[in-house]
């Protein structure tokens, strides 16, 4: 057990990040269990503690008497320095057990810009960074989460990955491990990996050989042992009412990013925005019933004592029973003064009315995501939103007393022209003018946030070349010049970070050495702009003789074997290609939930169905 010296902990910022003992935290005696599982999120406590997926896995694992699951997050740089100085290994928050003593260390892969933190955490835990160097006494390092649809850049650091939704497969992994242990740990680490590889949704990267051709492109990715499947498909929960959800999540002592109950209404989103990876990877839409949700809410309020609950989903306003459900749940918790929030608003007046009904704190403002500045480009990305929709939504917001609106856009989308960029400024101005029209006064505050578009694997834009940094800078300048009203505040992303993210997200196994090199030179918390070191990264690429532009700025041929194709969320490549062509022709594709099936392939490939309870009464 790790002991922290008071002088050390007194010297760091927010020491309660590192001292555990939160309400509902589960502390078990490791001598009494068969399997110990550390659940890690490679970012600071406040971010890590806000992750819903890990909370769910924590409960599922700890419900088993034979398993202990504990939490670990990345120490902030002040704490890391103290830990290194005092030779304190990275430890779990429940029992202060060094990470190296766990059977499994599972990392949640939320975004590419925390990959160096994974290496830093392994290093702080004295666990070998490369899977091939690990011995029988080392933990198995497993990854899961949204980034699993291209794990090639970090493949060499992981023993295996869990692809897709983890609720069921995590239990199979633990049972497989316990059996393997009972059998005397036959064939050592390789023995367990072989047993795991036959499970649906498990990807063991070391069981695949990648061949490159003389153009540096991938020639083949082939299994090298009989247990490994040629194609690994994601796991998907068929019935959201039956699967375990949170009952008693850990309640932190310090303010975290999402410091409230998260009630997950449904999984998946089939609006079909062509830039969106989550829209593909979480298919199909599967709703919980309102009855189930009310019961879950009751349980969660009782077990946590929170006074705030967010109704979460990729697009919560699309929940088919939302209107009625919100009314019911407000009635259920009238006495408790529970505040409800809807984190993702749709651009329509229904959403505004709901937000109004929920009495969301007005000063925080409303956020909409038109994503592109012109109708033409919104059609390219299949964002089924018109200027009239936005006008109507914003008007309704102003009528209901809001005066602050945030608008999210992207730049660098396929087929984008300067007209589309200027369209962002025009749209923002229109919102400002609308305020004057509706209220008769000045005083609107409009924030325009423009991200640099990063093409992602398993989207219709996966073949597209990302804009250069110079092009992003030019477009940012152009937009700035066209924003003249002082009521509009313009925020934009650091193109350096997007450039790097672009290289890694569509990278292949050869990037492992670049990430390792960047880590060795001190890269960490790359997603935190104050700590991001572009120079280190560019030097790492140079040292390894790899050009990032090969990964982020190369338009891929449609025949090219992409590095991630042997692991799939179940979508057919033909669908993605079809969507790419529709995009170029500015043609819309319907939401399959209400319109016709767009034949993405997910339902038949994974033997799963859309679950929409709004249709129950039809």
């Amino acid at each position: 057990m790790v002991k922290l010296d008071p002088a050390m902990i007194h010297a760091v910022n927010k020491p309660a990040r590192y001292t555990g003992n939160e309400f509902n935290a589960v502390q078990k005696d490791h001598a009494q269990v068969q399997c110990t599982f550390a659940l890690a999120l490679p970012d600071v406590y406040e971010v890590g503690m806000s992750n819903l997926g890990l909370k769910i896995l924590y409960e599922i694992l700890n419900k088993r008497e034979d398993t202990a699951a504990e939490r670990v997050y990345a120490p902030w740089i002040d704490m890391e320095a103290k830990m290194r100085e005092n030779k304190i290994p990275l430890y779990s928050l429940e029992t202060f057990t060094p990470l190296s003593q766990f059977d499994f260390v599972g990392f949640s892969l939320q975004y590419e810009m925390i990959y160096t933190n994974i290496l830093n955490m392994l290093d702080l835990a004295n666990i070998p960074l490369f899977a091939v160097e690990r011995k029988d006494t080392d933990p198995f390092i497993v990854g899961g989460g949204p980034c699993v649809y291209n794990t090639e850049p970090i493949a060499e650091f992981f023993d295996f990955f869990i692809i897709g939704e983890g609720e069921e497969i995590i239990v199979e992994v633990v049972e497989c491990f316990i059996q393997w242990k009972k059998d005397g740990c036959v064939q050592g680490r390789q023995g367990l990996l072989k047993r795991l590889a036959v499970l649906d949704g498990i990807y063991v990267p070391s069981f695949y050989a990648v061949q490159y051709n003389n153009e540096n492109l991938i020639e083949s990715v082939l299994p090298i042992c009989p247990e490994a499947r040629p194609l690994v498909q994601k796991r998907v929960v068929k019935n959201m009412d039956e699967v375990t959800f949170l009952e008693s999540p850990v309640v932190p002592y310090i303010d975290i990013v999402h410091d409230r109950i998260m009630l997950e209404l449904f999984r998946g989103c089939t609006r079909g925005c062509r830039f969106c990876q989550a829209g593909i990877s979480y298919r199909p839409v599967r709703e919980r019933t309102p009855e189930k949700l009310r019961a879950l809410a009751k349980q969660l309020v009782a077990s946590t004592g929170y006074d705030e609950m967010a109704l979460t989903s990729l697009s919560s306003a699309d929940y088919s029973c939302l209107g009625e459900f919100v009314t019911d749940i407000m009635e259920d918790f009238k006495k408790e003064k529970l505040a409800l929030s809807l984190p993702s608003l749709r651009i329509d007046s229904f959403s505004i009315e709901l937000a109004h009904k929920l009495q969301q704190v007005r000063k925080s403002g409303l956020t909409f995501a038109p994503e592109a500045g012109t109708q033409r480009l919104r059609d390219v990305i299949n964002k089924g939103v018109t200027e009239a929709n936005l006008e109507q939504a914003v008007r309704s917001a102003f009528e209901n007393g809001w005066n602050t609106v945030k608008l999210y856009f992207m730049m660098g989308l396929p087929t984008e022209t300067d007209e589309d960029i200027i369209g962002i400024a025009r749209l923002a101005q229109k919102v400002v003018d609308l305020y004057r029209q509706v209220t008769g006064k000045r005083g609107a505050r409009v924030t325009v946030s423009v991200a640099c578009f990063v093409p992602k694997p398993y989207t219709p834009f996966q073949w597209f070349s990302q804009n250069t940094q110079e092009e992003f800078a030019r477009k940012q300048k152009l937009l700035k010049e066209h924003i003249r009203d002082r009521a509009i505040q313009f925020n934009y992303h650091d193109a350096h970070i997007s450039y790097l993210e672009g290289a890694i997200t569509r990278g292949d196994r050869r990037l492992s050495k670049v990430i390792y090199e960047a880590f060795k030179q001190g890269a960490k918390f790359d997603g935190w702009s104050e700590l991001f070191r572009y120079d280190i990264w560019m030097k790492a690429f140079e040292t390894c003789g790899i050009d990032p532009a090969f990964y982020n700025q190369r338009e891929r041929s449609k025949n090219e074997l992409l590095p991630w194709e042997h692991v799939t969320p179940g979508v057919n490549k033909e669908f993605l290609l079809r969507e790419y062509h529709h995009a170029l022709k500015e043609e819309l594709t319907e939401d399959c939930r209400h319109g016709k099936c767009s034949a993405c392939g997910v339902c038949p490939n994974l033997d799963v169905k859309v679950v929409d309870w709004g249709k129950r009464h039809d």
Partner: protein, 227 residues
């Protein structure tokens, strides 16, 4: 309107929780306990609870006091049972007393705090005692209190109720400090330790100190004995 005055603790498990976070963990516990607590009116209702005195990050306490206002009355043992089951590690409910009617806010009446401060002993006991004696005998001691925004000179001896005492137990120094809480201000044990070291050359590692509040009083009585 029913109120409960409670005597609660802040244990080692939650040593690094700030006063604000301590208040919110108590709010959550009260909600989990399903007590019929009263809320303020308005757009953003807040729970009607109040504390006697704030406690710094890193300091534990055996004597915290919290008032809770209820909408309807609850028997004392029911109140205690329900709250106890909902408390996190590190908080113990020692006593609770129901009272009716108006009482002055505890924040306004507490005037004395007692602390127990443990530090590893390095060097010899004589040096510690001599430095402490010199501090105790000094007429006035000025401490420069720095916050991120300001820098202020404070005469701290005016806030000492009694002389600081020291005991030596198992390689540890245990100081007992009694400080006055006044409308004009007070002094924190951590500040006294800094003064010990910087102005009286006491050989201590003040960062290693474990500070524990042992008592809080108003006119010689604990706040809970006042109701």
């Amino acid at each position: 309107m029913t109120k409960f005055r409670t005597e609660i603790t802040k244990g080692d498990e939650i040593r690094y929780v700030s006063h604000l976070d301590y208040a919110s963990l108590m709010e959550r516990a009260i909600r989990r306990a399903k007590l019929p607590v009263a809320y303020s009116e308005g757009f953003n209702p807040h729970m009607k609870i109040s504390f006697a005195s704030a406690l710094a990050v890193g300091v534990t306490s055996a004597a915290e006091y919290m008032d809770v206002e209820l909408k309807e009355s609850v028997e004392e043992n029911v109140f205690c049972d329900r709250l106890r089951q909902a408390l996190p590690q590190g908080v113990k409910l020692l006593r609770a007393k129901m009272f009716e009617g108006k009482q002055k806010a505890m924040m306004a009446i507490v005037d004395l705090a007692e602390y127990n401060v443990k530090i590893p002993l390095i060097g010899d006991q004589t040096a510690i005692c001599e430095a402490m004696q010199a501090y105790n005998l000094a007429q006035a001691v000025t401490y420069i209190r720095r916050t991120p925004k300001s820098c202020k000179e404070v005469e701290i001896k005016q806030y000492m109720q009694e002389a600081v005492q020291a005991a030596f137990v198992n390689e540890m120094i245990v100081f007992t400090m009694k400080t006055k809480i006044t409308p004009a201000g007070s002094v924190k044990p951590g500040e006294i330790l800094q003064v010990f070291k910087t102005q009286f050359s006491m050989p201590i590692l003040e960062d290693e100190a474990l500070i524990h509040r042992t008592g809080l009083y108003a006119g010689g009585q604990t706040p809970i004995d006042l109701v």
